[in-house]
């Protein structure tokens, strides 16, 4: 049996406990300074001679493995798209389709006709500046069919008009009125669109808009988080966590959507010293921009911003709309784990806690917004997590809406021997001011206006009669708007 390395080399090998050093020695010792193997040197010389004679490729004298001779098939794959491109494609919002017919009678939705009741059941177009703002605050979603029509337009339904009237009331009220809404309803019943319409109307009235398009992002363990340093008096309470990148994203959305408004706002209070801002000349825009540019500054910037917005001061503050979509993800344990591998509850995240605290504000506490505004939170119908405590919360709100007293015998209470989520139960004390908006199917007039828009855009190529409208409504489960949209884009012939 022959050795695969020469004995000389082997003799120079030293046994070592450190595998790295032994390898290094082996590598050094096996370099071609070997003493008596001359074959490679000869071959090298040969090839040099041959190559001088002719241009033929040198034939190797020694045997090499078969696979080395065979040329490996290299499939030239096209370059994969840059990182993030595919995801961006997935989330891309297309707002127009030039193939669709232009609807000549389409009016624009503006501040003037915001609450005009004769617009109920009509489609109204969204125009330029608003579109950019809505796009920047991520109000559009890919599941909504914006890409089918010539230009974006939304259906004005009775709930929209009601929302508009409330916005006007807040505008006209001198006090710090805050309207709180929780929008629920079946899948595809128009909850997110109602949120979008709320944001549109807020932009029309120069409100400050904060939008959280997907509440699930806060709990599904896809973003950075860090424990919050707590002061001594809070030490007994549970540990809170901040989410720098999500805060940064929130600030980014707020910055681009409200840039012109933020520019005009001056500071009322002193901000923390460590923020690199000029005291005196800085506006709130600089503060938000700081948070949006660097995630390490995001949380302190948000805190400073929130202090400016919630605490009254010398300069007046604009009214604020906070819109959160699919809020039921916040009503249970999250996917995050703490340092000792315990599951973190969604309410232990500072932003979640703050936003939920705004909606379910305890009675008697000071109004959360300096100059009033609206909170428009909506649940999700398609991706609903199973959190029974939140279901109970909703049932209690329904019972309250029907005028049932919390002490009445029929009032929904947690089932005996069940373990309701204590975090969610804590919210129950603040149910008083929250208004539950339950979205149902569209009325006949609304669905007529909606389907007519499909017909006029050339997508639905069949005449809209009373009978066909009834058919659409019945197939859409009594005029559920998302289902109507599916039927409108459906091609049969």
């Amino acid at each position: 049996m022959s050795l695969s390395i020469c004995a000389d080399c082997l003799s120079r090998l030293r046994i070592s406990h450190n595998p790295r050093s032994s390898l290094a020695i082996a590598a050094v010792s096996l370099t071609p300074v070997s003493s008596f193997h001359s074959a490679s040197v000869m071959a090298k010389n040969n090839s040099l001679v041959k190559s001088k004679k002719g241009n033929r490729a040198p034939e190797s004298k020694y045997r090499s493995s078969q696979s080395a001779k065979m040329k490996k098939k290299t499939r030239d794959r096209p370059k994969p798209p840059p990182i993030g491109e595919r995801r961006a494609q997935r989330h891309r919002i297309v707002l127009s389709n030039t193939n669709a017919l232009e609807v000549p009678s389409l009016e624009n939705w503006s501040k003037e006709n915001m609450t005009a009741e004769e617009n109920t059941g009509r489609m109204l177009g969204l125009d330029g500046a608003l579109l950019d703002k809505l796009r920047d605050c991520k109000a559009f979603k890919t599941t909504q069919n914006w890409s089918l029509f010539r230009r974006p337009a939304t259906l004005i339904r009775s709930e929209t008009i009601q929302l508009g009237q409330e916005i006007e009331q807040v505008n006209h009220s001198q006090g710090k009125k805050t309207v709180r809404h929780l929008v629920t309803g079946d899948k595809a019943s128009g909850k997110s669109i109602l949120g979008l319409q709320g944001m549109t109307m807020a932009f029309m009235n120069d409100w400050l808009v904060f939008n959280i398009p997907e509440a699930q992002e806060f709990v599904n363990n896809t973003s950075s988080y860090a424990p919050l340093k707590q002061k001594d008096d809070q030490a007994q309470s549970e540990q809170l966590y901040i989410q720098p990148h999500l805060t940064q994203a929130l600030l980014t959305r707020a910055l681009h959507a409200n840039e012109s408004l933020l520019k005009t706002l001056k500071f009322n209070h002193e901000f923390p010293k460590h923020l690199p801002l000029k005291q005196g000349t800085a506006t709130l825009k600089d503060l938000v921009q700081l948070g949006a540019s660097d995630h390490t500054f995001a949380w302190p910037a948000w805190q400073a911003l929130w202090r400016e917005l919630s605490e009254p001061g010398a300069n007046s503050r604009p009214r604020v709309l906070i819109a959160v979509d699919s809020v039921d993800h916040w009503m249970g344990p999250s996917k995050y784990r703490s340092a000792d591998f315990k599951i973190i509850h969604a309410h232990q995240f500072t932003l979640v806690r703050q936003f939920l605290g705004l909606l379910f504000a305890k009675a008697g506490s000071s109004p959360p917004l300096a100059n009033g505004g609206m909170l428009l939170y909506s649940t999700t119908g398609s991706n609903t997590p199973a959190f029974p405590s939140f279901g109970l919360l909703l049932n209690q709100m329904r019972a309250r809406a029907q005028g049932l007293d919390p002490s009445a015998p029929g009032f929904p209470l947690p089932a005996p021997f069940s373990k309701p989520d204590t975090h969610v139960l804590e919210l129950m004390s603040g149910l008083g001011d929250v208004n539950l908006v339950e979205l149902k199917g569209l009325s006949v007039e609304e669905s007529k206006g909606y389907m007519e828009y499909f017909v006029r855009s050339g997508l639905l190529q069949r005449p809209l009669t009373e009978i066909s409208l009834a058919e659409f409504r019945a197939l859409a489960g009594g005029g559920v708007v998302g289902e109507l949209a599916k039927l409108g884009r459906r091609v049969t012939v």
């Binding site: 961006a88 494609q89 891309r92 193939n99 125009d127 330029g128 230009r151 681009h256 006949v444 091609v491």
Partner: protein, 364 residues
Amino acid sequence: MPPRISLFTTARSLAFRPSPTVVPQKRIAAVPTPSPYLLLPVQNRSASDDASKKPAAAATTPVHPDFKGPNMDQLPHVSEEQAALDKSMGGTPPDIEQGTPVQEILQRDKDAQEKAPEVLKQSINAGKSPANSTPSGSRSFSTATRRNAEGGSAGLVQFEDTRAVGLEYPDAGFGHKFPLPDIAKFPKTNNFRKRYDEVVDQVTRSLMRHGKLSQAQKNMDEILDNLRKAPAPSSGADTLKTNLPRDQLPLSPVQYLTAIIDSVAPLVKIRQQKGILGGGAAMPVPVPLQRRQRRRAAIQWILAGAENRRDTKLAERVSKELLAVAEGRGTAWERRSRLHKMATSARANVRIGLSGRPGRGRLN
């Protein structure tokens, strides 16, 4: 027994004429410009661009009049043709920057007006009427908001202690309460099992894998939507055989799909007849195909071409391939011309019997 269809009369029975088979490769060489559809995502603002890095000047809106929509930038558009014509004739060219709405084209083209779908006709008529803002009475549906409120409860049933009260049946007859549907006018698609268009159904079934029909239907819906959103096929490619105006194709995606599939569908297939030539060689005999068979061949080619694309979604792959075929590109055209060439060269092998029908080669 010889097949019943004559090879020579097959072409006559079709709704369109077969295109000359040599065309596609030449056209590709002549028009080296990439498809406008491929240019689609390339815009000022890439989809993955960070919103924060957005230049301040780019405050464009998609509906701004100067804005170029994702599919407005196609090359030989009708309005561009018109522009070129007007330039040479010394007239005022139309605004090329903006996509021409179909209505405008229709107003110019009387012939297309007649063939236009009902909705388009209505919109044209509405545009012609002087009172543009108020809805005209000619529409087949009412748009008044509160119609039911005045006329009592038309169509609503009132209940009194679980019993419907005050029902009236003005159209009742023997054995029915409401007007009877006219069975003689029932379209084929009124049958519960045949509710979809023939071509759409065939494509859906071809897309189906592992018996998952609902998944295939979902994909089919997406494909039709993509056809609806994509730009109309360029007028340079006259490969598409349809009697609809080219600009209207995207708005009626089923007809678009049918036109694409029927245009690339081969007329014949080549059967390799064994045991005639001897020596183990098979004799190619062109055999005419039925309509459904022809479509199947075209669908299989298109799906095979779609498999070579690198998009992640099946619907994307298939719809891009369909659009390529509509533009006259795509491997399906090459396969079709190759097959037709082979069939032409093997046409001597078709044995015509005394009855004038093609027989089965030289067997008897």
